[in-house]
């Protein structure tokens, strides 16, 4: 018992993966099925209007994939077909290889969802509403209280856990719905514009939640209009327009391929930096195309290459000892790609 507790403590302090946890606990590696979602020729037709046209997309493994596209492009339609809210006209929506429409219970057994902005029965409290979902998902009676309280804490709604939902604002309801998506430790989470209706602080908190979920062998598929959000949170991006998939690749590959091969990082500094270091030293680093100061304590560096180059560049800049306090991929590159690809299809 004590040994098990020690292992759990060790696991939590190290933040180890589920796979490694199994090695720690059992000394062997059990084959783990990677979570997957797959659209096979997925089509949705409303009379003459084609909302989604033969979408073929397979996403597999623990990662966060951003699903981008303009209004009416088919993002929500796709997510609704993956959750059986609507039926495909043609094709299949598969979750872990199981057809959502024909075997819904099996397909959605380990899926947390947030589609559009759901309403909760007004007279129920978050504790009751989440307990209902927990019971539907098969969480044991002993676990329900613990899990409900944990997910409510995760969305910072502890104070409201026993208040009736009818009195909640849209943002508060959205947080409870996000909490419901986390119940039962789902291996796949489908989110449709999860930050809709939230204030800036709420949006930031939801992004942090999604980032924290990424480390737990989960596949997160998230539609969004907010490109900076996708850049911040997602590893890969899929873009659709007019019901057709335009591109699906890693974020760095997409920006490298479609934004003239260039990527941009923004560097925040603790103190003002000398111009010469920027224009001569940093610009001379391999793969760097251009480096410039956006103000005294911020730099913008344009470089060619993917994540490996980005990582090396960070190392090189830190070695300069110029007080690096932040380093992040700029969203403007993704925005450029988005505008380029979406305009091209119009």
């Amino acid at each position: 018992m004590a040994a098990a507790a020690d292992i759990t403590l060790l696991e939590n302090s190290l933040g180890v993966s589920t796979l490694f946890k199994q090695e720690l606990r059992y000394g062997c590696r059990e084959e783990i099925v990677m979570p997957s979602i797959e659209a096979v020729n997925l089509t949705k037709q409303y009379g003459d209007f084609c909302a989604l046209s033969g979408l073929n997309l397979k996403i597999e493994g623990a990662k966060c994939v951003g699903f981008l596209g303009p209004n009416g492009s088919g993002k929500t339609t796709t997510l609704k077909m993956f959750t059986d809210l609507i039926r495909p006209t043609k094709g299949e929506a598969l979750i872990n290889g199981v057809n959502v429409h024909t075997e819904k219970k099996k397909a959605l057994a380990s899926v947390g969802t947030l589609i559009e902005t759901p309403e909760i029965y007004a007279s129920l409290t978050p504790r009751e509403a989440l307990s209902m979902i927990a019971e539907i998902r098969g969480i044991s009676a002993e676990e329900i209280t613990k899990q409900v309280e944990t997910v409510v804490a995760e969305v910072h709604m502890e104070e409201w856990i026993d208040k009736r939902v009818g009195k909640f604002s849209k943002g508060m309801k959205q947080r409870i719905c996000i909490a419901s998506a986390l119940l039962g430790n789902p291996s796949i989470i489908l989110l449709d514009e999860p930050t809709t209706g939230l204030d800036p602080r709420g949006m930031s908190e939801v992004r942090d939640i999604i980032k924290s979920l990424k480390s737990k062998n989960r596949l997160i598929f998230m539609s969004s209009h907010i490109l900076s959000e996708v850049s911040d949170v997602c590893d890969e991006v899929a873009m659709i327009d007019h019901g057709k998939l335009i591109v699906y690749d890693t974020l760095s590959n997409v920006t490298a391929k479609f934004a003239g091969g260039n990527n941009v990082v923004e560097v925040g500094l603790a103190r003002p930096v000398d111009n010469q270091i920027v224009t001569q030293t940093i610009t001379a680093f391999p793969s760097v195309v251009k480096a410039e100061k956006t103000d005294d304590k911020n730099l913008k560096i344009i470089f060619k290459g993917g994540l490996d180059v980005q990582e090396r560049l960070l190392n090189d800049i830190v070695k300069l000892n110029i007080g690096v306090v932040s380093y992040k991929a700029a969203s403007s590159e993704l925005e450029d790609v988005y505008l380029k690809l979406i305009t091209a299809t119009l």
């Binding site: 609704k80 219970k105 995760e154 430790n185 924290s212």
Partner: protein, 283 residues
Amino acid sequence: MTQTNFETKNIVPGSIAQVGTVMKYTLLDYLRSRRFFIMLIITALIAVLLTVLVGYYRPASFLTDDLSFYSSWWGNSVTFVVILSAIFFGGDAISGEFQNKTGYFGVPNPIRRSSIYVGKWLAAFLASLVMLGIFTVVTVGNGLYYFSGVPYQFAESLIFALVYMVAVLGFTFFFSSLFKSSSMSILLTAILFLFVFSLIQTLVSSLVQIEPWFILTYGSTIIGNVLATPYPPHMSTSSFGPAGRVTLTTFNATIPEGLAIMAIYFAVTAIIGLILFERKEFN
């Protein structure tokens, strides 16, 4: 930040257990809702009004014997309580899932839509049962005040009222599945039960002189008729007026006919309603 770190692997419960879950929480929602209190007030008002009026005026039609008391008191008003309860709790039970978007919370989970439908139906039935229960208690209380004992026909009538509640709820759920607008489904169901069915029944039986076996409210006449001795048969009355001889027929469904009409209404509307809900899309 708190982080989810559950290591459990959940086994999705069977459909019957999930029906129970949906029923439990929907009923909880109903019992705390404003509409439940409004329906409670309406039921109490009907009961109090009857108690006061009968107590004050002591009408002969009520107080001749115990059967005429239950026939006048219960037979004339219980169908109204049943219809109102079914409209209040079933009128938008399914359409509300679409219009109010509560369906987006429950449906994208490992649960069949049929489990949600049945769970909500049972919750609406239990909430309506509370109203029928209150009205029954007040009726029996008054009956015992005026007469000793409760006639066995009242128990039959109560059972028929329950069957009627099942049928009306089946119908309201069907209408609720037909529309995506809550107000539309509630309004149409109310108009149908409170006006249209009665009107068609009167027109068909009195003027065309066809037994209205296809109208649910015709089947429900057994609730009151069982309290009459002897059980009323079909009756025709002829009279001579300026336009010549006019024959008016009053049809009375027999108990097997009434039960069959209610059972068929429930079976057909429940199945169609369920199919509609299974096929309806959240868009």
